[in-house]
Point group: C2
Chain length 504, copies 2
């Protein structure tokens, strides 16, 4: 037991330092004076180097080796609890991944990312894919190398996906996405053929102060604890947890658009609640960390979409919204409002997309990433391939690469394998919801009465508290007793939008 405690102590120190970097990142986007940027960059770099050093250092490896044979994975320490055994296996998993990449490679990749982000910013601003292309070429090449270092059985993309979403293979994602795509294309066809929805009343002047008061009330009601978090403002909304007792969120207020701030805050507060729900006693062990980007995204999409865009939610909050923005919604019925906030419309930009088209944006990127890694798609052909797919999936063609293949930062950062987790988040959320509905068949009635804490409670018990104790598939299975598939999400969308767009 002493060996375990010793390892936990060393690991907790590293985790504490990771939390320091989070604060630096949060401060950078919220409060840092502009001229502080260059040395803030240095601070983040030095911290990252230190953390990597400690994670792969002798002190950590020696402590871990007392508990497990790092090569074979054989647990050496007797008398560990199940939880502790699981933690030790995860520590081993993480350190093997970290050690698989040569320091030289890591440094070269970091340098490339940094240059590549600059090039991408310029390229996007000047709508010049050509400027970004040589960097993308190198990013793809280094991702292939990364996959080789990390190792994989079937497909190099497996190794990349695993960085963000462990235990789901490229093949599985492909199958999930193929079935989802089919369903979405059909749904979108029905929606496009249906009578379109009026939402002009959601635009106009909405005083920022009132918007802030309103969203603060929303997150308070859902159980986001201001003693453990904050709401600030940044150009792009984000959530940033330093540790379970300091999990902050930000939003961006458009003074002429009402819903973007509301959904951003619900989204980020969903992320924030996940971090707040990790068990403090596990802090510093892998069991105290969130499971994956997909599970994280399931929590944000849960609150943004499944709850925040649901009718019962607005049965409760719409009167308050009407009161807050007096005179703006006098002639707008709840039903009219509900339909307007769920409007579906193909558009070019992923982050602005609605619940139905969003996944198609992501599937497009996944398919291109796979082709790029396989070498099936040449860099120079990316813009054309992008535009073709946009037309095929959404029936629209971007006029510029800035609103096409240059819109996202991910590739410039070197992050191949990240995009799929956005859709996995949707799929996970809807699948978790099956379990939630079974546990709380009267949920919509309670939500319509303004009760929300039982939702957080259910998520705490079924998702948050476990951290990395269970895989996503185990979490999904445990909470629903049903095998995971894309069906829950497809069914949810079909049922919801059939009613909203009034087709059979």
């Amino acid at each position: 037991m002493k060996s375990y405690q010793n390892l936990h102590k060393i690991s907790r120190e590293i985790r504490v330092l990771e939390g320091v970097s989070s604060i630096l990142g949060w401060d950078q986007e919220t409060h840092m004076p502009p001229d502080g940027a260059p040395i803030r960059g240095e601070q983040l770099e030095v911290m990252a180097g230190l953390i990597h050093e400690k994670k792969t250092g002798k002190k950590f490896l020696n402590a871990l080796s007392k508990l497990i044979d790092i090569d074979s994975g054989k647990i050496l320490e007797k008398g560990l609890t199940d939880e502790q055994q699981k933690a030790v296996l995860l520590w081993r998993r993480d350190v093997r991944k970290a050690l698989a990449l040569p320091t030289e490679f890591v440094e070269k990749f970091a340098k490339l990312s940094s240059q590549s982000i600059h090039a991408w910013r310029f390229a996007k601003k000047n709508n010049s894919f050509q400027h970004f292309a040589p960097f993308l070429e190198q990013v793809v090449e280094m991702n292939r190398q990364q996959a080789d270092y990390l190792g994989y059985q079937d497909h190099p993309y497996d190794a990349l996906l695993d960085l963000y979403e462990p235990d789901i293979s490229t093949k599985e994602v492909s199958e999930l996405f193929t079935s989802l795509k089919k369903s979405l294309e059909k749904l979108l066809k029905n929606i496009t053929a249906a009578k379109q929805i009026e939402d002009s009343f959601l635009h106009g002047k909405f005083p920022p102060k009132k918007q802030i008061t309103f969203v603060k009330h929303l997150i308070d009601t859902m159980g986001y604890d201001m003693a453990k978090g904050r709401l600030d403002f940044s150009v792009h909304p984000f959530s940033s947890a330093s540790h379970p007792t300091d999990s902050r969120i930000t939003t961006f207020i458009h003074p002429t658009s009402l819903m973007s701030n509301i959904f951003a805050v619900l989204h980020e507060a969903g992320h924030g609640l996940y971090e707040m729900g990790l068990l403090p006693e596990n802090f510093g062990t892998p069991l105290g960390d969130f499971y994956s980007m997909g599970v994280h995204e399931s929590q944000s999409k849960w609150w943004e979409n499944l709850i925040g865009q649901s009718k019962p939610y607005w049965q409760h909050f719409y009167p308050l919204l009407q009161k807050t923005f007096k005179g703006r919604f006098d002639d707008v019925s709840l039903n009219k409002f509900y339909r307007a906030i769920n409007i579906v419309e193909p558009s070019f930009i992923r982050v602005d997309a609605d619940e139905v088209t969003y996944s198609l944006h992501v599937i497009l990127r996944f398919e291109l990433e796979k082709d790029l890694i396989e070498g099936k798609l040449a860099i120079r052909d990316v813009p054309e391939a992008w535009n073709e797919k946009m037309h095929k999936f959404l029936g629209i063609t971007p006029q510029t690469d800035a609103e096409g293949c240059l819109q996202d930062i991910h590739w410039s950062m070197g992050a191949f394998g990240y995009f799929p987790t956005y859709v996995l988040g949707n799929l996970f959320a809807s699948h978790f919801f099956l379990g939630f509905e079974k546990a709380h068949p009267d949920w919509s009635k309670r939500v319509a009465q303004g009760e929300l804490l039982f939702i957080k409670q259910w998520l705490n018990e079924n998702v948050h508290q476990w951290g990395r104790r269970y895989t996503s598939k185990e979490l999904l299975q445990n909470s629903t007793n049903k095998t995971f598939s894309a069906k829950a999400f497809s069914d949810y969308l079909n049922n919801k939008y059939k009613e909203i767009y009034k087709f059979a």
Copy 2:
């Protein structure tokens, strides 16, 4: 030159980490959610450990040893510039100090401080010196040990003073303070005998928003650069620089008192400007750090007292103040206002004291500290000794220890030798002012016209930019061509208050 660059690189990394700790400390007092406190404590502790490790680690020592023989102080590298030689000598000085304290001792002292602060908070709240006494006993004992480890020639207090104010001895401080005390006691007697001043119009309702707008204008005018700083709110005003391009300040707004916020902001902005004025190219070498606590304090007192409580300053800003707080100062002449903001009145609490009595509070503490370290004063006799001195210096006797010897945090933190730097700040500031007046004989005219940037410019050139290149005495000498003494400060006070209190 390569050896020097290598050392600078290693040292800069350490300095970067110190800047990270500053951000953590700033965030803790301004924005951190309350429940984040325990793990924030861990973050600060882990960072402090890391920084100490790096400052005394092999990597740093090896790099330094290439340039200088650490034992003898003989410079080994040929061709260093004067600046570089000075930097190397300071690096050696710092590392010898750090190495002089055994790790065990440092850890024991840190632990004692942490317990002692808790005990002090309780003791102050419950007005129970008895509760704090055993901790103070240990603090004094460990400070004696610390002095022994650090080494000294004449007096153990020299070694402690040197931690905050290098190159000034206890003997010199005693002499400065004795002469100052004499002068202050005489001045105070004259003031007490004179007709007292009316200042009731400075109290009442002053809307916080207007106060904030007003002080933001003040610091903007003096050259505090918001692209490199921020103004936030905290229970106690402070300044916190992460690096020269991120130097933040805070204030506390009393909604019923006007001047405390104004003077706090000028004080902290004075600190902030010093840090902003350190040369970026020296960042990471000792030349890029501030010289001492006393020199730092000279910069805050300069703006708070010498400028901010001067008549020319308010010749310019008083009309704006009147306009900002409409109706509040209609019947108050500039002269009446000027006299009111310079009111002198013996009081118990150091941080609330005026310009004349402030130094006496500090001299009292210095005398007690010296006696404690020498063993002349027993811990149990501290409250009585305190009260006696208060009566002797200021003619008043605290009714409780909470407003007496328990009021300051410094002793509980283990910081013996710190207090004198507050008065040295006053002395330095007034002495620098001699040089400033010589360079700008028309300063008061220019200030009365709202010109302030030439003041910052003079401080940049004569103080800020040098960092640790020159000692305080060299800086003072270089800027004035006069030998440093307490006379400049005494003269300043005597001339100023003779006019304000109208005595001969």
